[in-house]
């Protein structure tokens, strides 16, 4: 393969990354006359993916690693297969996934397949939990996953190679340069796996689950001045999977290819008059299932402006237009086209001990009446001194999800009269920081109405209908500390979520679901990480817990999936000489060889191993 260079070289470790960022010459620190999403969503809960985990497991897809970090659940249809996120009791289509500000959920299915979101493609991964449609648009009920690959790399070159169990190989190459006002960073990656792991407790190897995935990420920018620049981002991801069948299946032959092109071009102006962005994008999502192509093409144009008044009022306004074309055989000979326009405004103000914000969004969609979407939230410092801080966070929002193209245009099933799903969400949390300890707890509530479900009608034909009403509520809590014992730096983080997701109303055909927990929604979810760094050595332990999950709507225990705890271990050593960094990383996944399933009938591997070697050429310190 392209990148199989027989490389035995190093990668960035947590420590190096922190150091490297301060050495950055690609992106000089400049005053940005705008605020990040966190500020505009005051009172909201944001999580950031740990950079050590991101780096060590960059060859994994996001659906394999996020559940080790936040209380989320992934229904993975096998190892390396289709992966749907579930946050705060909602379904995979109730999480908005955005890449560089563009929604990349499938417009045909509604959900994002996390198995085609390889971690290597992103420089930053953030998760906003809870209702956020007023900022992130359609589908942000359970939360939003915010990805960016805007080239924050500080390395001239980095190369990495992994070898793992079950015929798994991963190769990546990253490079960046700057010539005058032009700078560029690029990544190339490829992963492939035979994936013929022994099915735990079955005595046979998993047949028909091989996959490969490769891609290219390009970020380029031309800075006319400190304040004005043009950026171009391009991401191509190409994935091929033999679809892993249910345990015991023989002679399986289904295959799927996913090919996604995503481009965005923006002009940015960052002056005392505010931060303006104007630009557009193009998204082409192809799914080729057993040779049949389904394609959704999207053209995007957007403009936004942020301004800070002297008295510290921040305002922002934006407009975004999407033109969507659904070239799917099942939609009929004429590809349906749809326009979606979103107008949004936000205000943020920091008072003495209070940061408060209000967001408003009004979407306009062809033949769909979308509601006005407000978000209001605040962070209040209740008490603060040099040793500790108590922070109260509250927010409330109205959210919506537009019916998908499948819902609306599937011939002889879809309905153009479907209403959008809507929800009201509210949450309140308390955070306590005491020296290095961080403890927080948060209660959340959401009421979702007009939830679209495909229900069997006459002759077993399924049709989408606005039938479900669902209430989700729960508590999430986290604790984190960091201490130094001699030369050893220890860091530990635990999180837990209690989630109830109860069907209040549904179609008569599913009457047994009323009052019951939604399927694939664990009541108890937990995650934990612990790391120790000693000089150039580091060790990490990652834990993921999921309680019992029902797979059948009346919550029959016959079909429930058993609870499990997964443990991953990583040992890392790095060497640095002048501009050269080497890292060797050894990982054990599923250390205790647990048998578990994330989706009914799909096997997951037992204990397995991975070795990673990487090399970085860093820029000279200035």
């Amino acid at each position: 393969m392209l990148l199989r260079l027989g490389i035995f070289l190093g990668c960035i470790n947590l420590g190096f990354l922190a150091k490297a960022q301060s050495d950055s010459v690609v992106l000089k620190p400049v005053t940005v006359y705008g605020l990040p999403d966190e500020k505009y969503l005051a009172g909201g809960q944001f999580y950031a993916l740990d950079s050590a985990l991101r780096t060590q497991q960059e060859s994994r897809h996001l659906g394999e690693i996020l559940a080790f970090q936040f209380p989320v659940y992934f229904r993975n249809y096998g190892n390396g297969m289709l992966s749907g996120i579930s946050m705060r009791g909602t379904s995979p289509s109730h999480v908005a996934v955005r890449w560089n500000g563009i929604n990349i959920n499938s417009f045909s299915l509604g959900q994002a397949d996390f198995s085609i979101l390889p971690t290597i493609a992103f420089d930053d991964v953030k998760v906003h939990a809870g209702g956020g449609s007023a900022r992130f648009g359609s589908g942000a009920f359970g939360g939003s996953v915010l990805l960016s690959s805007t080239g924050t790399t500080t390395n001239i070159l980095s190369v990495s190679q992994e070898v793992g169990s079950f015929g798994r190989y991963f190769t990546s190459l990253k490079g960046s340069f700057r010539v005058g006002k032009f700078s560029s960073s690029s990544s190339l990656y490829r992963v492939q796996a035979k994936n013929d792991f022994p099915i735990p407790g079955y005595g046979e190897r998993q047949p028909h689950a091989a996959y490969w995935q490769q891609g290219f990420v390009q970020h380029a920018q031309y800075s006319f001045s400190e304040a004005r620049r043009i950026t171009v981002d391009y991401w191509f991801n190409d994935s091929h999977k033999e679809i892993q069948p249910t345990i015991g299946n023989n002679n399986s032959s289904d295959e799927q290819d996913d090919r996604n092109h995503r481009v965005s071009v923006f002009y940015e102006q960052n002056t005392t008059r505010g931060l303006s962005k104007i630009g557009g994008g193009f998204v082409d999502d192809k799914i080729i299932y057993n040779g049949t192509l389904s394609e959704i093409v999207r053209w995007i144009a957007s403009a936004s402006h942020q301004y800070t008044f002297k008295n510290q009022w921040n305002i922002s306004g934006s407009a975004e237009w999407n033109h969507i074309i659904g070239k799917v055989k099942e939609y009929g000979p004429t590809a349906p086209e749809e326009d979606r326009v979103d107008l949004a405004a936000a205000v943020q103000k920091t008072f003495k001990k209070v940061s408060a914000s209000v967001n408003l969004r009004q979407p306009f969609i062809t033949h769909v009446t979308a509601p006005l979407l407000p978000y209001i939230g605040a962070d209040v410092v209740l008490f603060e001194n040099s040793a500790q801080q108590w922070l109260l966070s509250v927010n409330g929002s109205k959210n919506f999800r537009a019916p998908t193209f499948n819902d609306r245009y599937w011939q002889e099933a879809g309905s153009r009269d479907l209403l959008p799903e809507t929800s009201y969400a509210a949450e309140a949390g308390l955070g306590w920081r005491y020296h290095t300890w961080k403890i927080n707890a948060r209660g959340f509530y959401q009421h979702i109405d007009q939830w679209i479900q495909w229900i069997p009608m006459e002759q077993g034909i399924y049709r989408p209908r606005n039938v479900n009403q669902v209430r989700t509520d729960g508590i999430e809590a986290g604790i984190e500390d960091q201490i130094n014992i001699g030369m050893v730096m220890l860091h530990a983080k635990l999180s837990y979520q209690f989630t109830q997701a109860i069907t209040l109303e549904t179609d008569d055909s599913d009457a047994a679901a009323v009052g019951k927990q939604l399927i694939y929604t664990p009541i108890h979810t937990g995650s934990g990480t612990a790391s120790a760094v000693y000089k150039t050595w580091s060790a990490n332990v990652y834990l993921q817990y999921s309680g019992k999950r029902f797979t059948e709507s009346s919550n029959s225990s016959v079909y429930a999936l058993d609870p499990f705890v997964l443990t991953d271990l990583s040992l890392n050593k790095s060497w640095t000489q002048n501009q050269h960094d080497f890292t060797l990383s050894f990982q054990v996944k599923n250390l205790f060889d647990k048998t578990y399933q994330l989706y009914a009938g799909r096997a997951m591997p037992g204990r397995n191993f991975n070795l990673k070697i990487s090399y970085h050429l860093n820029r000279k310190k200035q």
């Binding site: 099915i199 407790g201 079955y202 005595g203 046979e204 069948p245 249910t246 345990i247 015991g248 299946n249 023989n250 002679n251 399986s252 032959s253 057993n290 040779g291 049949t292 229900i455 069997p456 077993g460 179609d507 008569d508 055909s509 599913d510 047994a512 679901a513 797979t551 059948e552 709507s553 009346s554 029959s556 016959v558 079909y559 989706y599 009914a600 009938g601």
Partner: protein, 368 residues
């Protein structure tokens, strides 16, 4: 969704008849045994499946949750999920049909492309029949210790079946010994008058019943019908009855299993559901249309005008058969194909007798 049990084609006392006599003895023994052992653990297989009804539940598609439910009418005991495949949890993905032969149960698991073999007494797993040619298997019939498995074969890119066939399996070593090509979309297979009859019900354009001679394992005829064959049974005169569905006018054909002639055609004047069953004395046929159940004598020449009964509360009728002991009509309700289904038992004169919860999508009933 139809079911075949071993038919008594030769008139001699067959395996089937012997067990039928024996089952009464077992029933008495079983009742006695349950009285003694009334505090048995319900979860454990009781190892006594000699007599009773087996509900085949497809399970939720593509999740491997197909199960077999056992109901013993005399003892009124219900056991879910009695057979576990090698993975140890359920029977497999899309449990389609089952046939008893000798001391074994052969379970056709459509989604897994396998035939699982269980001990017929204990339902412990004995092994499975696998072969590269087993792709979407549907039903099996046994003649002379050879299994005849109907196989729909793979789909092409447009989800059309392109290569359906019957596989002949030597049950002494569970290997495929021959492939007999047929029309596309074959389903049911019935043994009558020394021949095997295979209904091709996949597509509206194919309206045939294939005839296979098991003495030399060749296809010897295709009987053309005016409608898609969806159910087949053998009556007390050893005649084959085929229910052929059609949008407006389904038909019942009586076919001579030696000459393959259509001796009688009855217009039903409606489209029907995909099951045909026969009463215990094999002189009456049971079918359903639009949620109503009809009984027609094998001597009749016209369709019945009034239904025998119309059940209430069924969301998605998915399987039907008649208990050969007492003529009771069993109906499977898949509800929404994703939740635990229900079984309705109606007496032979159409009164609701019992309902119980089965597995997901109950598609077939096998009695013994």
């Amino acid at each position: 969704m139809n079911i075949q049990y071993k038919t008594d084609s030769s008139g001699k006392p067959s395996f089937f008849n012997v067990t039928r006599n024996m089952r009464r003895i077992f029933a008495v023994l079983f009742v006695a045994a349950t009285l003694w052992a009334c505090n048995d653990d319900d979860d454990k297989p009781q190892g006594k499946y000699e007599h009773g009804a087996f509900v085949l539940n497809e399970g939720k598609f593509m999740t491997g949750t197909g199960t077999i439910t056992y109901y013993n009418e005399q003892a009124d005991t219900l056991q879910q999920n009695i057979f576990r495949n090698a993975a140890g949890q359920y029977a497999g993905d899309v449990v389609q049909s089952m046939i008893f032969h000798d001391d074994k149960a052969y379970i056709v698991v459509n989604g897994n492309n396998k035939v699982e073999i269980a001990n017929a007494e204990t339902f412990e797993r004995l092994g499975s029949i696998t072969d590269d040619q087993i792709i979407q298997p549907r039903y099996m019939e046994v003649v002379d210790n050879k299994g005849y498995l109907t196989v729909q074969g793979p789909y092409d890119d447009n989800y059309n079946l392109v290569d359906s066939y019957v596989l002949v399996i030597d049950l002494t070593n569970n290997t495929v010994i021959k492939k007999i090509a047929t029309d596309e979309g074959i389903e049911n297979i019935v043994y009558a008058g020394n021949k095997l009859f295979v209904g091709a019900s996949g597509y509206a354009s194919i309206h045939t019943v294939a005839v296979i001679d098991p003495s030399n394992n060749t296809l010897i005829d295709n009987i053309e019908l005016d409608g898609v064959p969806v159910g087949m049974v053998v009556d007390n005169n050893n005649k084959l009855w085929v229910l052929a569905n059609d949008d407006a006018n389904a038909k019942l054909y009586r076919i001579n299993p030696s000459s393959f002639e259509k001796e009688q055609t009855i217009d039903l004047g409606t489209s029907v559901d995909t099951d045909l069953a026969i009463t215990p004395d094999k002189s009456g046929l049971i079918y359903s249309a639009f949620g109503s159940f009809y009984k027609i004598s094998t001597a009749a020449t016209t369709a019945p005008t009034a239904p025998l009964f119309t059940p209430e509360g069924i969301e998605a009728q998915y399987g039907m058969n008649v208990d050969p002991d007492n003529g009771e009509i069993w109906i499977g309700d898949a509800i929404n194909y994703a939740t635990e289904g229900k079984v309705y038992i109606y007496t032979s004169d159409g009164k609701l007798k019992k309902t119980f919860t089965a597995g997901i999508s109950p598609t077939n009933f096998v009695f013994r």
